[in-house]
């Protein structure tokens, strides 16, 4: 265990660490400026448990109905001996393809239990290497591969619900998503989320190849995205470039190297341990926990609620400190450099003097206030 791990472990307490997933990595690119989140995720702390204990649970994220719909769709794609899958790969990648070899890594385990991620990763790895070196059949689909990506010096195992398709020396990530493509158009937000997740898998695949001295270029930036067509459950596939998302994720992963530095700034004794009793009920005093959390600088934006369990907590915290970020990005950008409502209004009302940097914005705000007052007085 390296010292970074020890320090993150201290922060987390005795609870088992939650692994990073493609979802948490995607969140990293969604709000890269948030140190609070980077540290908490790196330490594998359960944000949902944290938020719940603090009395600000986030919304339930997974709908059973959505999950069922997704599973039914996946069955449809992979069922009947992957007939649909083969058709879609053939059409999308322009291959002359009659059949593919198929490996499901979930079936690696011989014992009752599913084998550990480490074992399955080793198996994934060897399959990928043998495909890349021409030992495996020339067209192979790997389902449920277990990938590994170093994040801030840690190996993170990703168990994506994706396929890696290898043909003639090239790998493509294949994602099955249950949002529809209607008359040739899919919801751009969902597509971007899918591509951001795929970016993590692309990087992890490249990592395996690079480790073996093989060319990471073999993993294409393009992915195959499979969705329901129009109003049916018939699958359709499109080829999408994830290049932008790959670059952005790589950039943010590099930034995570700052973790030790962030931890250096934490006073000793900072801990997010919930101190569960034998029944698993948290016993940590809330006030105490909130104080520790407050030492990790947050960067709240109203978009946090789409990707972070702490969103309600961080919004309340921002509000209670009169911070402008709770009011949205427009306000924050309009009065850049002024961080609280109290200061902004004190400047407008002339209760405090603007610093040099605040002079322009103060003048503009006072002007806006004057116009509004005139309007109220009926003279604008």
């Amino acid at each position: 265990m390296n010292s970074l791990d020890t320090r993150l472990g201290t922060l987390r307490g005795p609870a088992r660490p939650l692994p990073h997933s493609a979802r948490t990595l995607a969140a990293l690119t969604a709000n890269p400026a948030c140190d609070r989140r980077s540290v908490i995720d790196a330490a594998g702390i359960d944000k949902d448990a944290l938020a719940t204990h603090l009395g600000t649970p986030g919304p339930v994220r997974k709908s059973q109905l959505a999950l069922r719909f997704g599973l039914a769709f996946e069955d449809r794609v992979l069922g009947r001996d992957h007939a649909e899958l083969v058709r879609l790969l053939r059409e999308t990648l322009g291959l002359d393809l009659a059949d593919v070899a198929y490996e499901d890594l979930n079936r690696v385990a011989t014992d009752q239990e599913r084998s550990t991620p480490t074992l399955r990763h080793i198996r994934t790895r060897s399959l990928i290497i043998s495909a890349a070196t021409g030992l495996a059949p020339p067209r192979t689909v790997l389902n449920h591969p277990v990938l590994r990506l170093p994040v801030a010096g840690h190996p993170v195992y990703l168990e994506p619900d994706v396929l890696a398709f290898h043909h003639d020396g090239t790998f493509h990530v294949v994602e099955i998503k249950s949002f529809p493509v209607i008359h040739g158009q899919a919801d751009p937000v969902s597509v971007n989320a899918a591509l951001t997740q795929a970016a993590a898998y692309i990087l992890a695949l490249r990592d395996i190849l690079a480790d073996e001295g093989l060319s990471p270029e073999c993993v294409s930036d393009d992915i195959v995205l499979i969705n329901p067509l129009n109003f049916t459950q018939r699958p359709t596939a499109t080829r999408q470039s994830a290049r932008r998302q790959v670059n952005s994720l790589r950039f943010h992963l590099d930034r995570l190297r700052r973790l030790p530095e962030l931890l250096d700034h934490l006073p000793t004794g900072t801990s997010l341990d919930l101190a569960p009793d034998p029944e698993g009920k948290p016993t940590r005093p809330r006030r105490d926990l909130a104080a520790s959390l407050a030492r990790l600088p947050a960067h709240y934006t109203p978009r946090c609620r789409h990707h972070c369990d702490l969103a309600v907590y961080c919004r309340d915290e921002a509000r209670s400190r009169n911070r402008t970020e709770a009011l949205g990005t427009a306000v924050r950008e309009d009065i850049a450099g002024i961080t609280t409502t109290t200061t902004a209004l004190a400047l407008v009302d002339g209760h405090i003097h603007p610093s040099d940097a605040q002079e322009d914005i103060t003048r503009a705000l006072r002007h806006a206030q004057r116009l509004y007052d005139d309007l109220q007085a009926g003279s604008a």
């Binding site: 919304p59 109203p302 002007h367 806006a368």
Partner: protein, 489 residues
């Protein structure tokens, strides 16, 4: 968003009370709109779960779709309700005489209006419409025909909703935020929290407190069309399973559940409607509604005479044309808003797109050399302003007091506090002998000028006969798309 809007948001945050912005309504609201509160089934692209609808707050109708199997019965009932509302406007017509550019036309005296909670509902209806209008074209049964006709009408409403200034399909949340600013982020502004800020219920100390209460997980109710995951897991999933075992009682349960789930939002919709209805509409809202009546008349004629549904996807040409129409409508709508709404003018002054200032110099003898060498009278004035003007020379401005007046920006001289704006008056000033003093003021007067739309009389809503979208019908590759679509999900 403007700096003024941001400032007012800060004020609302500090005071805990929503702040009133605009005091005039830019969209027509019908006396009897068809209020629609749709819910979507989680998962499939556009499978409705339920729709609560009606033209009065009391006794709404609730149509529900069974958890699995065909939605045809529900859609037929929905078709009946929507088409019935549409048909109730197919009554008296007025006749407009021919003009230089158009032949004589007839126009219905009123048009139907749909009102929904938010943009997401508009989007859901649009997706639903595109599935329904092309659905099973080989099935000619009365029920299939009425479902397709529902698709065509919903297409009409949702297409119109993309035109800025159109009131055929109104999202109440969007209309509310044109009139109030809250102390929370725009992303947090949904129907429930907005109303709490604007109209805190009895017993809450202020808007913030009320919004906080409205958001509490056990009381919160989203305005749809998506149901939240907790509701799906705790309430809907068990009923979906029960339905698979024994449909009849489960369906009754589902109806009870959804009626109770939707009722608070239904009440809020009418509360929001009443608040907005009380705001006086602008003159141009009436003009745009007259154009809307013409659109409605044209669409009716199209359905009667041709009746082919709009293809699944616009062809390039018609897509470009609709984009251009939308941009023209946006420009015209923005210009109207600036001319009719003092709050909008003030907002534009804080962004530098309009200017208000005192006339400090007048050159009422200024002439330029016109075509043919004749002198043309072009008086000039200089305004002194503290507004952060961003108006490049050559820009044409106008005044809400005299809308045909045109002031051309000649130059700006920025001083330490004030900016001087030199303007040449190019239209509306009258003649040298009889100048119009509203347009050509004397020194000391205060003027507010906003950007003049490029073509002020640009038809925001060109008549349908100039647009080719009525042609095409479904392209062959989409013919089968609707086939069994809803059933399968």
């Amino acid at each position: 968003m403007s700096l003024l809007a941001s400032l007012l948001r800060l004020r609302a945050d500090a005071s805990g009370h929503a702040i009133r912005t605009s005091h005039v309504r830019h969209l027509h609201l019908s006396d009897q709109p068809l209020m629609m509160l749709p819910l979507k089934r989680t998962g499939p692209a556009a499978r409705p779960l339920a729709v609560m609808l009606g033209t009065s707050p009391l006794r709404p109708r609730l149509l529900i779709a069974p958890p699995s199997g065909s939605t045809a019965t529900m859609l037929t009932a929905l078709a009946k309700a929507v088409i019935g509302h549409v048909a109730s406007h197919h009554r008296a017509k007025e006749y407009l005489p021919a003009t230089a550019t158009r032949p004589e036309r007839a126009r219905y005296l009123d048009a139907p209006q749909l009102v929904v909670p938010n943009q997401q509902a508009v989007r859901f209806l649009r997706t639903l419409a595109s599935g329904l209008r092309l659905r099973r074209l080989d099935d000619q049964s009365p029920s299939a025909n009425s479902i397709r006709l529902l698709g065509q009408w919903l297409t009409h409403f949702t297409d119109r909703a993309q035109i800025p200034g159109s009131a055929a399909l109104v999202s109440l949340t969007d209309l509310l935020v044109m009139h109030w600013i809250t102390g929370q982020s725009p992303q947090d502004d949904d129907l429930a929290t907005l109303l709490a800020w604007i109209y805190p219920p009895f017993g809450s100390t202020d808007g913030r407190d009320a919004a906080r209460h409205a958001e509490a997980p056990d009381t919160y109710r989203g305005a749809g069309p998506d149901t939240d995951a907790a509701f799906d897991n705790e309430k809907l999933t068990p009923l979906v399973d029960a339905y698979a075992r024994d449909p009849t009682p489960a369906l009754q349960e589902l109806e009870k559940l959804l009626a109770a789930y939707l009722q608070p939002t239904w009440d809020r919709l009418w509360q929001a409607y009443a608040l907005l209805q009380a705001i006086p509409p602008t003159a141009s809202a009436g003009r745009r509604w007259a154009a809307e009546r013409a659109e409605f008349t044209d669409h009716t004629t199209h359905l009667d005479q041709d009746g082919r549904p709009r293809p699944a996807r616009d062809q390039a040409v018609s897509a470009a044309i609709s984009l251009e129409r939308r941009e023209a409508a946006r420009a015209a709508f923005n210009a109207d808003r600036a001319l009719e709404d003092p709050f909008v003018r003030v907002e534009l002054r804080t962004t530098g797109d309009a200017v208000g200032g005192t006339v400090i110099a007048v050159d009422d003898q200024h002439t330029i050399c016109g075509p043919g060498g004749r002198d043309m009278w072009r008086p000039r004035i200089t305004l002194s302003t503290q507004d952060p003007v961003h108006l490049e020379p050559g820009r044409l401005l106008t005044s809400h007091l005299h809308r045909t007046a045109r002031y051309q920006v000649r130059g700006l001289i920025a001083g330490p506090v004030d900016t001087l704006v030199e303007l040449e008056i190019t239209a509306g000033m009258g003649t040298v002998d009889r100048p119009n003093h509203t347009v050509l003021p004397s020194a000391g007067a205060f003027l507010v000028l906003t950007a003049a739309p490029e073509h002020f009389r640009m038809p925001a809503f060109p008549s349908r006969d100039q647009t080719p979208w009525t042609h095409g019908g479904p392209p062959p590759e989409h013919l089968g798309d609707g086939d069994g679509s809803q059933e399968e999900q």
